[in-house]
């Protein structure tokens, strides 16, 4: 590294050389060094090269400008401090001037450098916006070259992701309409960036999300969910998630446009982290109201969620799937029944009990189980849980039984024959606790002899069958 610092000292005077090719090649070399490693980038900054680059950026021809912007980008991408150093030497104004240049390559390099600077935190983004970059970026998006469009879209996405004010600035420059038009473009990488930009804008507030929706993205975004590129699908699902999470009306809009079906198909066809935004989107839609949750169930949303829960290896995806199932099933007994019929409750229970699963997964599985169980009246699904559940879950299960059994005679008979009553008797509960009350309610549904029989022997079961 010491030798490399020496290299910086050697390269620096070459930047001022008379022959333009040498200048350009020197800048190129600096850029490649800086992009390799962040210590080298720091060495570039410490070697006082940046002010020189910035000065000559405004004067030289387009190849030099491209190389200089490349160096700035390479330095700025490593850490916020380096990006701050770039901002402090006044590079932003010159980069913004480069954005007005005729050559699309120069614009692309300048936009890329601005994007990497704005990516780190909101102060740097604000600095980029204050330098007047946003309207020029919106103009860049309208240029015919695809690479330039990609970079401009990714820069807008990086700017708007930090705070609602920045997103509002981007929207005020009229970016949404152009971004919405570009969703139809066949290029996959461009679609990725455009969808990411729209989702970063929409995620901050209801008004921004409504603005994005008003740009008439809706049936078009669904075609992106069927694209062959994984990340386009992921970003499309992210966009629908950011829109759906704000209000029930927006979720309703998405449901009416058939978005739920598209997202479900998308989940079914992908594997891994690409599924995560789709799962979360279903969870948000179902969380708003019971009608929407019923819409998710009717669109056959539960089987893919169950397969996600079972198949995926990553804990955070499983946690998201558990959360989404909890949101679907928690509204009314109908919903809980739909979830229980899919035989997912034992899986949730095992996830909760598993010591290897992370904290987050355990907490989410437990909450989902609790929510579903509090409304579940589908007894065949509850039976298997009686045997394995820990006391805090068991309380809810037994509570549900105590609510249903007094009114339904067939269920009572089934309960006895499947050994449920036996299991209930074996539960030890403190007298006066809620669990004991539930057990008493259940025991009161049956005649005395049967209950006593159970307390004594398993032969009592046969007696019941005979009677």
């Amino acid at each position: 590294i010491v030798a490399l610092v020496g290299v910086m000292a050697l390269l620096r005077p070459l930047l001022l050389d008379v022959v333009p090719t040498i200048q350009q090649t020197a800048a190129l070399a600096l850029g490649r060094l800086a992009s390799y490693n962040d210590e080298l980038a720091e060495a570039v900054v410490k070697g006082d090269i940046l002010p020189q680059l910035v000065c000559s950026l405004s004067e030289q021809n387009r190849f030099y400008k491209k190389a200089a912007a490349f160096v700035l980008r390479a330095v700025g991408k490593h850490s916020p401090q380096l990006a701050q150093a770039i901002v402090q030497c006044g590079a932003l104004e010159t980069l913004v001037i480069c954005l007005e240049d005729f050559d699309p390559g120069v614009k692309e390099a300048a936009a890329w450098a601005l994007g990497y600077i704005a990516r780190h935190n909101s102060e740097l983004s604000q600095a980029v916006v204050d330098a007047g970059a946003v309207p020029l970026l919106v103009l860049c998006i309208q240029e015919p070259e695809i690479a330039l469009k990609r970079i401009a879209a990714s820069t807008l996405s990086d700017i708007s992701k930090h705070s609602p004010e920045l997103a509002q600035t981007v929207v005020d420059a009229g970016a949404i309409a152009h971004l919405a038009q570009m969703i139809l473009n066949p290029d996959a990488k461009l679609k990725r960036q455009v969808l990411s930009a729209l989702s970063q804008i929409a995620k901050h507030s209801v008004d921004l999300a409504e603005l994005v929706v008003e740009a008439e993205i809706f049936p078009v975004v669904l075609t992106c969910l069927k694209d062959s590129d994984e990340y386009v699908k992921k970003n499309g699902a992210t966009l629908t998630r950011e829109i759906a999470k704000h209000t029930p009306e927006l979720s309703q809009l998405i449901v009416n446009a058939g978005g739920v079906a598209a997202v479900i198909d998308c989940i079914g066809s992908c594997r891994g982290t690409v599924r995560l935004p789709g799962i979360m989107m279903l969870g948000y839609v179902a969380a708003h109201s019971e009608n929407l949750s019923m819409a998710v169930i009717v669109s056959k949303g539960i089987p893919p969620l169950c397969t996600c829960l079972i198949e995926e290896n990553e804990d955070h995806i499983k946690a998201a799937a558990a959360w989404a199932l909890g949101q679907v099933g928690r509204h009314t007994p109908e919903h809980a029944r739909a979830v229980a019929v899919a035989n997912v409750l034992p899986t949730l229970l095992s996830m909760y009990m598993d010591t290897h699963s992370s904290e987050d997964l355990q907490v989410k599985a437990k909450k989902a189980l609790k929510n579903i169980l509090q409304k579940c009246t589908y007894l065949p699904a509850l039976e298997p849980l009686l045997h394995d559940a820990p006391p805090n879950i068991l309380k809810h299960i037994v509570g549900q039984f105590s609510k249903v059994l007094p009114h339904d005679s067939k269920a009572r008979r089934l309960f006895v024959t499947t050994g449920g009553l036996k299991k209930v008797q074996e539960i030890k509960a403190e007298p006066g606790s809620l669990l004991q009350e539930y057990i008493n309610t259940i025991n009161n549904c049956y005649p005395e002899e049967i209950v006593r029989q159970y307390l004594k022997t398993p032969a009592g079961e046969k007696l019941v069958l005979l009677s």
Binding site: L28, G105, T223, S228, G258, V260, A262, D265
Partner: protein, 364 residues
């Protein structure tokens, strides 16, 4: 003597007086007794009379009070009965109102707020819509797949053709069979057929760099070598320079094809002045309200008195006539001191204001 006479006389008189006094006294006592008795009798009798009178008055008063209290009691009772009746009626009405409201609210909620059938229809509509969306998306995906396949196929074909053109020399001749035309096989290899079809590749015609390929290569690291920008387009090299003091070809061409920049005087047409005048006239004709010329003032209207409008004839500007009152009032011209009495026929509907419903509710 005199005194003794006097005393004797006096004593005789006194004795006389005394005896008469005694006589009178006994009579007087008797008289007093009688008097007292008479007084007693009279007083007792008067007492009786007064008592009888008082008794009589008492009885009369009792009768009056009895009647009055009876009357009050009956009035109170009537009031009580009316209130009880009113309360009973209101309870009845309330019950009926509750029944109506119950039915209405159930109907309304079931029809509009929690409409089960609408919800069912909505969910069915959603599943139908989902089916449509899924179908369309599948079609779209298939279309994309097909396009991709087609593109791949075309690319392969192009590559093959390019290869064939490059290896044109491998074509088989009459004498020597080429690689792809084995004498042992019955028909020629497809490559052989391609070779036969293709034209030989000329060296000067470099295949144009495919822009698609350019896109795929990384422009990020500025890997292209920088080239010098050309200052101006050079004239074609092949042309021979004409001998003699001729000017440079490029300069000549530039001058020959310089675009015309006429001065303003040249660019203006000859009759532009007349045209401009006519234009002005047309515009004025267009903007006029009517075509009658102004007539001169005649003395026809000389003696007409100016009639101020109502707004102007009032003292302080806004007259209340037409706004606040609609009739002129001149009290000095009135015969009597009073104004007309407004005796209008009553409007039947307005008479019934506040009285359209039954009066049973107004008892309380």
């Amino acid at each position: 003597m005199l005194t003794s006479n006097v005393t004797f006389l006096f004593s005789i008189s006194t004795i006389k007086i005394f005896t008469t006094f005694c006589i009178f006294r006994s009579v007087d006592e008797y008289r007093k007794k009688e008097y007292k008795a008479a007084v007693k009798i009279q007083s007792w009798f008067r007492g009786c009379r007064v008592r009888a009178y008082i008794r009589y008055l008492n009885n009369m008063i009792i009768i009056i009070q009895k009647w009055w209290r009876g009357y009050q009691g009956r009035r109170y009772f009537r009031k009580m009965v009316e209130t009880a009746y009113f309360i009973m009626k209101m309870n009845f009405y309330n019950e009926m109102a509750v029944r109506i409201q119950k039915r209405w609210r159930g109907y309304y909620v079931r029809k509009y707020t929690h409409n089960y059938y609408a919800l069912k229809k909505y969910l069915e509509a959603i599943s139908v819509n989902n089916e449509i969306v899924r179908k369309e998306l599948n079609e779209y995906a298939e279309m994309k797949e097909k396009e991709k396949e087609k593109k791949d196929l075309e690319k392969k074909e192009k590559e093959k053709e390019h290869q064939a053109r490059k290896m044109h020399y491998l074509l088989s001749t009459e004498q020597i069979a080429g690689i792809y035309n084995s004498p042992f096989s019955k028909s020629a290899d497809p490559m052989e057929l391609l070779l036969r079809k293709s034209k030989p590749l000329s060296h000067s015609q470099q295949p144009a760099k495919n822009h698609l390929i350019c896109e795929l290569c990384d422009r990020s690291n500025c890997t292209r070598s920088p080239t010098f920008p050309a200052a101006q387009p050079l004239p074609p090299i092949g042309r021979q320079k004409p001998q003699g003091p001729f000017r440079d070809a490029a300069e000549v061409l530039r001058q020959r094809y310089k675009p015309l920049e006429p001065t303003l005087r040249v660019a203006a047409s000859i009759n532009s002045l007349e045209k401009a005048r006519e234009e002005i006239k047309r515009e004025e004709w267009r903007n006029r309200v009517h075509d009658n010329e102004f007539l001169p003032f005649s003395s026809y209207h000389k003696n007409e008195k100016y009639d101020p409008s109502i707004h102007r004839s009032g003292k302080y500007g806004q007259e209340t006539y037409g706004v606040k009152h609609f009739r002129e009032v001149q009290p000095k011209k009135w015969i009597a001191d009073k104004d007309f009495q407004t005796v209008l026929p009553s409007i039947v509907l307005f008479e019934r204001f506040g009285k359209t419903y039954s009066r049973t509710g107004q008892i309380v």
